[in-house]
Amino acid sequence: MLIFAYSGIFSPVKDNYPVKCIHEKLTGEPCVSCGLSHSFSLIIRGKIAEAYQWNIYGMRVFLFFALQLVIRIVFSFFYLKYPDTRKELIIFDIAGSVLIFLIAFFPFIRSISSGILG
Protein backbone atom coordinates (compact mmCIF):
# COMPACT_ATOMS: atom_id res chain seq x y z
CA MET A 1 0.00 0.00 0.00
CA LEU A 2 2.86 2.36 0.87
CA ILE A 3 4.50 1.62 -2.46
CA PHE A 4 1.31 2.53 -4.33
CA ALA A 5 0.88 5.69 -2.25
CA TYR A 6 4.51 6.64 -2.94
CA SER A 7 4.05 6.01 -6.66
CA GLY A 8 0.81 8.00 -6.72
CA ILE A 9 1.99 11.00 -4.68
CA PHE A 10 5.28 11.63 -6.45
CA SER A 11 5.01 12.66 -10.06
CA PRO A 12 7.32 11.59 -12.90
CA VAL A 13 6.75 14.98 -14.58
CA LYS A 14 7.83 17.01 -11.54
CA ASP A 15 10.60 14.50 -10.74
CA ASN A 16 10.19 15.18 -7.00
CA TYR A 17 11.17 11.73 -5.71
CA PRO A 18 12.77 11.83 -2.26
CA VAL A 19 14.75 8.61 -2.77
CA LYS A 20 17.84 9.06 -4.94
CA CYS A 21 19.96 6.15 -6.06
CA ILE A 22 22.77 5.78 -3.53
CA HIS A 23 24.47 3.28 -5.77
CA GLU A 24 24.70 5.87 -8.56
CA LYS A 25 25.94 8.53 -6.11
CA LEU A 26 28.71 6.25 -4.89
CA THR A 27 29.80 4.81 -8.20
CA GLY A 28 28.68 7.44 -10.73
CA GLU A 29 27.14 4.69 -12.81
CA PRO A 30 23.40 3.83 -13.01
CA CYS A 31 22.38 0.55 -11.43
CA VAL A 32 19.87 -2.11 -12.50
CA SER A 33 17.11 -0.62 -10.33
CA CYS A 34 17.54 3.01 -11.45
CA GLY A 35 14.27 4.51 -12.73
CA LEU A 36 12.11 2.14 -10.68
CA SER A 37 10.20 4.99 -8.94
CA HIS A 38 9.49 6.64 -12.30
CA SER A 39 8.39 3.30 -13.69
CA PHE A 40 5.97 2.67 -10.76
CA SER A 41 4.46 6.14 -11.06
CA LEU A 42 3.93 5.67 -14.79
CA ILE A 43 2.33 2.23 -14.29
CA ILE A 44 -0.08 3.76 -11.73
CA ARG A 45 -0.94 6.42 -14.34
CA GLY A 46 -1.46 3.78 -17.05
CA LYS A 47 1.60 4.67 -19.15
CA ILE A 48 2.97 1.16 -19.45
CA ALA A 49 5.16 1.62 -22.54
CA GLU A 50 6.85 4.66 -20.98
CA ALA A 51 7.29 2.73 -17.73
CA TYR A 52 9.25 0.04 -19.60
CA GLN A 53 11.54 2.72 -20.97
CA TRP A 54 12.40 3.95 -17.47
CA ASN A 55 13.09 0.50 -16.07
CA ILE A 56 12.63 -2.76 -17.92
CA TYR A 57 12.04 -4.68 -14.67
CA GLY A 58 9.61 -2.09 -13.24
CA MET A 59 6.49 -4.01 -14.24
CA ARG A 60 7.47 -7.33 -12.64
CA VAL A 61 8.48 -5.64 -9.35
CA PHE A 62 5.27 -3.60 -9.40
CA LEU A 63 3.29 -6.83 -9.99
CA PHE A 64 5.06 -8.41 -7.00
CA PHE A 65 3.83 -5.64 -4.70
CA ALA A 66 0.34 -5.71 -6.25
CA LEU A 67 0.15 -9.50 -5.87
CA GLN A 68 1.33 -9.25 -2.27
CA LEU A 69 -1.51 -6.84 -1.52
CA VAL A 70 -4.05 -9.24 -3.05
CA ILE A 71 -2.46 -12.29 -1.33
CA ARG A 72 -2.55 -10.53 2.08
CA ILE A 73 -6.27 -9.78 1.71
CA VAL A 74 -7.16 -13.28 0.40
CA PHE A 75 -5.10 -15.16 2.99
CA SER A 76 -6.41 -12.99 5.85
CA PHE A 77 -9.93 -13.88 4.74
CA PHE A 78 -9.19 -17.65 4.61
CA TYR A 79 -7.17 -17.44 7.85
CA LEU A 80 -10.17 -16.05 9.73
CA LYS A 81 -12.79 -18.19 8.00
CA TYR A 82 -11.00 -21.56 8.23
CA PRO A 83 -9.05 -21.64 11.52
CA ASP A 84 -8.31 -25.38 11.17
CA THR A 85 -6.17 -24.88 8.05
CA ARG A 86 -4.04 -22.04 9.44
CA LYS A 87 -0.78 -23.99 9.44
CA GLU A 88 -1.22 -25.11 5.83
CA LEU A 89 -2.23 -21.59 4.81
CA ILE A 90 0.91 -20.10 6.39
CA ILE A 91 3.17 -22.64 4.65
CA PHE A 92 1.41 -22.05 1.33
CA ASP A 93 1.66 -18.28 1.81
CA ILE A 94 5.38 -18.39 2.61
CA ALA A 95 6.18 -20.73 -0.31
CA GLY A 96 4.12 -18.69 -2.79
CA SER A 97 5.49 -15.35 -1.64
CA VAL A 98 9.10 -16.58 -1.79
CA LEU A 99 8.55 -17.93 -5.32
CA ILE A 100 6.96 -14.67 -6.54
CA PHE A 101 9.75 -12.71 -4.84
CA LEU A 102 12.45 -14.75 -6.59
CA ILE A 103 10.76 -14.35 -9.99
CA ALA A 104 10.21 -10.59 -9.55
CA PHE A 105 13.60 -9.73 -8.07
CA PHE A 106 15.72 -12.19 -10.06
CA PRO A 107 17.48 -9.45 -12.14
CA PHE A 108 18.49 -7.61 -8.96
CA ILE A 109 19.64 -10.80 -7.23
CA ARG A 110 21.64 -11.68 -10.35
CA SER A 111 23.30 -8.22 -10.40
CA ILE A 112 24.29 -8.56 -6.72
CA SER A 113 25.67 -12.06 -7.18
CA SER A 114 27.57 -11.07 -10.34
CA GLY A 115 29.01 -8.08 -8.44
CA ILE A 116 30.19 -10.32 -5.61
CA LEU A 117 31.50 -13.13 -7.79
CA GLY A 118 33.02 -10.68 -10.31
Binding site: I22, L26, L36, G115, I116
Partner: protein, 167 residues
Amino acid sequence: MEEKTNSTGQNLGIAALITAIITFVFAVIPCVGIIAIIPGIIAIVLASVGLSHASRNESPRGVLIAALIIGIVAVLISLSQIFVAGEIVKKTENKWSGEIREVIKQVQEDVLRDLEDASVSIKVESNGEKVEINTHLNRKDLLEELEELEELEEVNTEEDDTLQTEK
Protein backbone atom coordinates in the same frame (compact mmCIF):
# COMPACT_ATOMS: atom_id res chain seq x y z
CA MET B 1 1.33 -11.50 34.55
CA GLU B 2 3.06 -14.36 32.76
CA GLU B 3 0.66 -14.09 29.82
CA LYS B 4 1.52 -10.40 29.49
CA THR B 5 5.28 -11.08 29.23
CA ASN B 6 4.62 -13.90 26.76
CA SER B 7 2.55 -11.62 24.55
CA THR B 8 5.29 -8.95 24.79
CA GLY B 9 7.81 -11.45 23.41
CA GLN B 10 5.41 -12.47 20.65
CA ASN B 11 4.59 -8.86 19.76
CA LEU B 12 8.30 -8.13 19.52
CA GLY B 13 8.66 -11.21 17.34
CA ILE B 14 5.92 -10.10 14.94
CA ALA B 15 7.36 -6.55 14.80
CA ALA B 16 10.84 -7.97 14.18
CA LEU B 17 9.56 -10.35 11.49
CA ILE B 18 7.68 -7.62 9.58
CA THR B 19 10.71 -5.28 9.80
CA ALA B 20 13.04 -8.09 8.69
CA ILE B 21 10.86 -9.01 5.67
CA ILE B 22 10.57 -5.35 4.56
CA THR B 23 14.33 -4.96 5.06
CA PHE B 24 14.96 -8.09 3.00
CA VAL B 25 12.86 -6.79 0.08
CA PHE B 26 14.60 -3.40 0.13
CA ALA B 27 18.06 -4.92 0.61
CA VAL B 28 17.77 -6.67 -2.75
CA ILE B 29 17.04 -3.40 -4.64
CA PRO B 30 20.45 -1.85 -5.48
CA CYS B 31 19.23 1.80 -5.30
CA VAL B 32 18.12 1.59 -1.66
CA GLY B 33 19.92 -1.58 -0.61
CA ILE B 34 22.55 0.20 1.47
CA ILE B 35 19.89 2.06 3.54
CA ALA B 36 18.34 -1.30 4.48
CA ILE B 37 21.16 -1.82 7.00
CA ILE B 38 19.34 0.48 9.48
CA PRO B 39 15.96 -1.36 9.59
CA GLY B 40 17.93 -4.62 9.43
CA ILE B 41 19.77 -3.76 12.63
CA ILE B 42 16.45 -2.69 14.22
CA ALA B 43 14.94 -6.07 13.28
CA ILE B 44 17.92 -7.93 14.76
CA VAL B 45 17.72 -5.90 17.99
CA LEU B 46 13.95 -6.48 18.30
CA ALA B 47 14.37 -10.21 17.67
CA SER B 48 17.23 -10.45 20.18
CA VAL B 49 15.24 -8.62 22.89
CA GLY B 50 12.22 -10.82 22.14
CA LEU B 51 14.40 -13.94 22.31
CA SER B 52 15.79 -12.95 25.70
CA HIS B 53 12.21 -12.36 26.96
CA ALA B 54 11.07 -15.68 25.47
CA SER B 55 13.97 -17.64 26.98
CA ARG B 56 13.24 -16.13 30.42
CA ASN B 57 9.54 -17.00 30.23
CA GLU B 58 9.96 -20.22 28.23
CA SER B 59 7.51 -19.03 25.57
CA PRO B 60 7.61 -20.11 21.85
CA ARG B 61 10.57 -18.73 19.93
CA GLY B 62 9.86 -19.79 16.34
CA VAL B 63 8.80 -16.36 15.04
CA LEU B 64 11.69 -14.65 16.84
CA ILE B 65 14.30 -17.02 15.42
CA ALA B 66 12.81 -16.61 11.92
CA ALA B 67 12.92 -12.80 12.32
CA LEU B 68 16.51 -12.94 13.54
CA ILE B 69 17.64 -15.12 10.62
CA ILE B 70 15.84 -13.00 7.99
CA GLY B 71 17.20 -9.82 9.61
CA ILE B 72 20.79 -11.11 9.57
CA VAL B 73 20.49 -12.28 5.94
CA ALA B 74 18.99 -8.88 4.95
CA VAL B 75 21.85 -7.00 6.64
CA LEU B 76 24.37 -9.25 4.89
CA ILE B 77 22.73 -8.52 1.52
CA SER B 78 22.83 -4.77 2.33
CA LEU B 79 26.52 -5.03 3.18
CA SER B 80 27.10 -6.93 -0.05
CA GLN B 81 25.61 -3.92 -1.89
CA ILE B 82 28.47 -1.81 -0.49
CA PHE B 83 30.90 -4.48 -1.70
CA VAL B 84 29.25 -4.45 -5.16
CA ALA B 85 29.47 -0.64 -5.25
CA GLY B 86 33.14 -0.88 -4.29
CA GLU B 87 33.78 -3.32 -7.11
CA ILE B 88 32.11 -0.96 -9.61
CA VAL B 89 34.18 1.97 -8.28
CA LYS B 90 37.32 -0.14 -8.77
CA LYS B 91 36.32 -0.88 -12.37
CA THR B 92 35.58 2.79 -13.12
CA GLU B 93 38.86 3.82 -11.43
CA ASN B 94 40.78 1.57 -13.82
CA LYS B 95 38.86 3.09 -16.72
CA TRP B 96 39.70 6.64 -15.52
CA SER B 97 43.37 5.90 -14.94
CA GLY B 98 43.58 4.50 -18.47
CA GLU B 99 42.03 7.67 -19.87
CA ILE B 100 44.37 9.83 -17.76
CA ARG B 101 47.35 7.82 -19.01
CA GLU B 102 46.27 8.45 -22.61
CA VAL B 103 45.92 12.20 -21.96
CA ILE B 104 49.39 12.34 -20.37
CA LYS B 105 50.83 10.49 -23.37
CA GLN B 106 49.20 12.96 -25.77
CA VAL B 107 50.50 15.94 -23.77
CA GLN B 108 54.00 14.44 -23.77
CA GLU B 109 53.88 13.97 -27.55
CA ASP B 110 52.68 17.57 -28.03
CA VAL B 111 55.42 18.96 -25.80
CA LEU B 112 58.11 16.95 -27.63
CA ARG B 113 56.74 18.13 -30.98
CA ASP B 114 56.87 21.76 -29.81
CA LEU B 115 60.39 21.34 -28.46
CA GLU B 116 61.72 19.88 -31.72
CA ASP B 117 62.30 23.34 -33.21
CA ALA B 118 62.79 25.20 -29.95
CA SER B 119 65.91 27.24 -29.28
CA VAL B 120 67.35 27.92 -25.84
CA SER B 121 69.66 30.79 -24.90
CA ILE B 122 71.40 31.10 -21.54
CA LYS B 123 73.13 34.32 -20.48
CA VAL B 124 75.37 34.46 -17.42
CA GLU B 125 76.83 37.74 -16.08
CA SER B 126 79.50 37.75 -13.40
CA ASN B 127 81.85 40.64 -12.48
CA GLY B 128 81.32 42.35 -15.81
CA GLU B 129 81.98 39.16 -17.77
CA LYS B 130 79.27 37.88 -20.03
CA VAL B 131 78.83 34.34 -21.19
CA GLU B 132 76.11 33.48 -23.68
CA ILE B 133 75.16 29.98 -24.72
CA ASN B 134 72.76 29.48 -27.58
CA THR B 135 71.37 26.10 -28.49
CA HIS B 136 68.47 24.66 -30.34
CA LEU B 137 66.77 21.30 -30.31
CA ASN B 138 66.33 20.80 -34.03
CA ARG B 139 67.27 17.19 -34.61
CA LYS B 140 68.86 17.76 -38.02
CA ASP B 141 71.06 20.57 -36.74
CA LEU B 142 72.01 18.53 -33.73
CA LEU B 143 73.06 15.62 -35.92
CA GLU B 144 75.10 17.93 -38.14
CA GLU B 145 76.80 19.44 -35.10
CA LEU B 146 77.50 16.01 -33.76
CA GLU B 147 79.14 15.00 -37.04
CA GLU B 148 81.24 18.17 -37.07
CA LEU B 149 82.33 17.54 -33.52
CA GLU B 150 83.30 13.99 -34.35
CA GLU B 151 85.35 15.19 -37.32
CA LEU B 152 87.07 17.78 -35.15
CA GLU B 153 87.86 15.14 -32.56
CA GLU B 154 89.41 12.91 -35.21
CA VAL B 155 91.58 15.76 -36.45
CA ASN B 156 92.66 16.59 -32.91
CA THR B 157 93.68 13.03 -32.18
CA GLU B 158 95.77 12.93 -35.36
CA GLU B 159 97.50 16.20 -34.34
CA ASP B 160 98.15 14.74 -30.91
CA ASP B 161 99.85 11.71 -32.49
CA THR B 162 102.17 13.88 -34.56
CA LEU B 163 103.09 15.82 -31.46
CA GLN B 164 103.99 12.63 -29.67
CA THR B 165 106.28 11.52 -32.57
CA GLU B 166 108.06 14.87 -32.53
CA LYS B 167 108.92 14.31 -28.88
